[in-house]
Symmetry: C2
Subunit: 101 residues, 2 copies
């Protein structure tokens, strides 16, 4: 499936909350969404509270539709208290490759 | 497969060479390597010459072994003339998710 919308987000967890943030992201309702082509969670080897997400969506509209769902809003509500400060976003649209976990 | 080594690289292509750089990366010999669990190519929507690669390997040793192969060195030799300046690397180890291109 082609991806036309995406980003690379860098999140900072509250001290000691990195594991919990990662687990929440790995259970995100984005993953089973067919318009979510890429959802890659990563973390810093050097700092357990620095967490990354790369997302790729079939379209900006598909991402907005998902973001408006109760499931997505529930995720946001759970994420908020685990985060310290603002997440940083980079304009990155995934174009290909693999994630063979 | 578990990933214990990874990074997020930001590359700048020579002006107008973004497409060629992306294609070279999408054909990289890393992709069929079983120790390369994640190889995700992305690009900036706003700047066609900004290209990203997120890699995740089973171990640093597996990555080094691959990097020493003739195929990897051939890729590096092809990449070099397409790049402008130094690539930027961020300590990011992929931990889970999907890439369903």
């Amino acid at each position: 499936m082609s991806v036309t919308h995406g980003f690379h987000a860098t999140m900072t967890a509250q001290p000691g909350k990195g594991d919990e943030l990662v687990q929440l992201l790995l259970d995100a309702p984005s993953l089973p969404n067919k318009d979510c082509v890429v959802f890659l969670v990563g973390r810093s080897a050097g700092d357990a509270d620095t967490v990354f997400v790369t997302e790729g969506w079939t379209s900006p509209e598909a991402h907005s539709r998902f973001f408006a769902t109760p499931e997505a809003q529930e995720l946001v509500a759970k994420l908020q208290p685990l985060l310290a400060g603002e997440s940083q976003y980079v304009d990155e649209v995934p174009v290909g490759g693999k994630a063979a976990f």
